[in-house]
Symmetry: C2
Subunit: 346 residues, 2 copies
DNA sequence: GCCAGTTCGTAAATCGTTTTACCACGAACA
DNA sequence: TGTTCGTGGTAAAACGATTTACGAACTGGC
């Protein structure tokens, strides 16, 4: 092989700015000025550079340019689980935002495990992402060891709302709990089971708090029926089935997570009670399959598009001014009244 | 500002290998040898380098290292739509593979639009991804203008199976069509509508071909009822409703896509016919909500995990040996017999 | 015709890492 | 003692783009 250059094996590597410069009969600096244009270039040299770049199929090497410019135009996205529709929805929106703004996103999953999360974030830092969009595994994100003291600009999304050391953008989960419950109360229900997956995260506790607020406001505090299922559909199903083995059965269920929604439906089927004739249900989240499910589920849903759009712009602001005070955005939720919650039958 | 260095504003930038070298009293080359160890280093200098790196919280700059080494350890992932559960499933698996192998993935969406797809791929090329995993918008991927002549190593997944110029990994869609249909025939059905979204892609045409094969093998070719819906749930619903306005109604529906599955269910509801008593349905894909849907749907499902694992390793092989002959993998599908397809009632 | 000001091109420095080329120092051996 | 190795360290040259510093050529005003 008659290679003349040193360094790593180049095996027909792509043309460099130097190749373009040579072909256009100018210097690399001029080529750079034509292509990203911080300085004027005479029309004729501009033209010959354009032609040369075109002919060679020149694509600027992003590594080199990042190295020199000190930013990568890459955003790291950290989610617990990409196969969860809520998160894949967020990522879809973020990707669109990124494409628009000339960014790319590096996506990693934490499996909701703080150790894995730290490791994956470390990898993103080594890649010098310009910013981080994080749906954190724990509310105390960043306080545990394992993460370096200084992180790139980051915003916490969905989880860990109100964190002291980061911008946060999340749904108004208290309102979610309040509105879902109030809707059932307005329909005359007084025995409302509130089904949730865990009490380990603020976003879940907030929904329960909203439930309690609605109860209290209507003098129903004594009737609280909080049911903590677990993170799987069947765990939720089982605890709901237990509720129905008690003497005083609830007349309505408010599911505060997507999994518990599925668990509630499954339990209702197993118990052979009629939805919505004998039991009302307010579901959490909306999903395409619900349009073919009978009855069409009344639900409280998060606004993924607004969550994504707002967190993106908060992150951009944070990158632009790293020392601004932290922001805490709460995005309203949507209550969609459909068919699964009905006036209580007496 | 008493900055001494030129170049981009450094604003408390992270420590470099030179900082570590200075602190450890060795040269940068030695630090590099300690950290990635291609050459021996005496025990005492090794130790002091480790300590210095630890103390400074040194993280190697991936941009610089990529630039010098000539690879990025980054894989570009191109999918039509990340909020489609099938693709987000694939991406989830790929991300896990990547994390395992010390790679990261750069995810982009094409919206199934070839122009957007080209642009997004261009961006990935500028970032010098080491490889590409592509669920292409069109079967003739890469022949249309807009894409450079030389792409990085790429494998085509799910779509464009059997492409001449790329490795391909996809489900055995002919078998999918064949097995779904055969199952219904075995149950005694003779009027089976095959519902699909379009005939624009091989993977869809293959499923229909499997349907035809099964029909033919059972002397039912004359009874073919191919129904092409469209890419939305309601488009599929409408065409199925039309089928049922005809004198000779089908006794079974084989849905060959996820959307057409939803469309078929919706139509069945609207028409007020009982599933599975009056109509049998074989669905496509499996999804968590199906576990709470009644009747539990009999379905043909793709094996996302195998699709992802195989495409990943084919890509790794391709990167390792760029000139090997192309491979065409077909992954078997899974027929799950559940409750929505029943023996034909006479 | 001369001087100041503008425009535009180039050479060289720089980003932070890896890797090559070379050198110094011992140890082993004749 | 003189010659080879082997080991481990350093300086410097890459990687490919951006940007600064400088200088040549041109413009315009007097």
């Amino acid at each position: 092989m008659g290679r003349k250059r040193r360094g790593p094996p180049a095996s027909r590597s792509s043309p460099t700015i130097r190749d373009v410069a040579r072909r256009a009969g100018v210097s690399p600096g001029t080529v750079s000025n034509v292509l990203i244009g911080v300085r004027g270039v005479r029309a004729d040299s501009r033209l010959s550079v354009m032609k040369a770049a075109e002919a060679l199929g020149y694509k600027s090497n992003h590594m080199a340019s990042s190295l020199r410019r000190g930013h990568t135009r890459t955003i790291g996205v950290v989610v617990p689980d990409l196969s969860n529709e809520f998160f894949s929805g967020l990522v879809t929106h973020w990707e669109a935002q990124a494409a628009n703004a000339g960014y790319e996103i590096l996506v990693v999953s934490s499996g909701d495990n703080p150790d894995i999360e730290s490791r994956r974030i470390q990898a993103l830092i080594a890649r010098r992402v310009d910013g981080l969009l994080i749906a954190a595994a724990r509310d105390d994100f960043g306080t545990a060891p394992g993460l370096p003291v200084s992180l790139p600009p980051a915003v916490l999304v969905d989880r860990a709302s109100g964190h002291k050391r980061f911008d946060t953008v999340s749904s108004d989960n208290v309102a979610a709990g309040y509105e879902g419950t109030s809707h059932l109360i307005k329909l005359g229900h007084r025995d409302i089971a509130c089904l949730t997956s865990a009490d380990s995260h603020v976003h879940l506790r907030d929904r329960v708090q909203g439930y309690r607020m609605a109860l209290k406001e209507n003098g129903l505090s004594g009737r609280e029926r909080l049911v903590i299922g677990g993170r799987s559909v069947d765990a939720c199903r089982i605890v709901i089935e237990q509720q129905f083995r008690q003497a005083a059965r609830p007349t309505a269920i408010f599911a505060t997570t997507f999994f518990s929604t599925l668990g509630a439906i499954k339990a209702i089927h197993e118990l052979n009670i009629a939805l919505p004739q004998d039991i009302s249900l307010v579901a959490f989240e909306h999903s395409e399959w619900m349009t073919v499910f009978q009855p069409y589920l009344t639900s409280v849903a998060q606004r993924r598009d607004e969550l994504a759009a707002n967190s993106w712009s908060v992150l951009m602001d944070r990158i632009a001014s790293p020392h601004a005070t932290f922001r805490r955005l709460k995005i309203p939720i949507t209550l969609s009244i459909r068919e699964s919650a009905r006036p209580v039958s007496d």
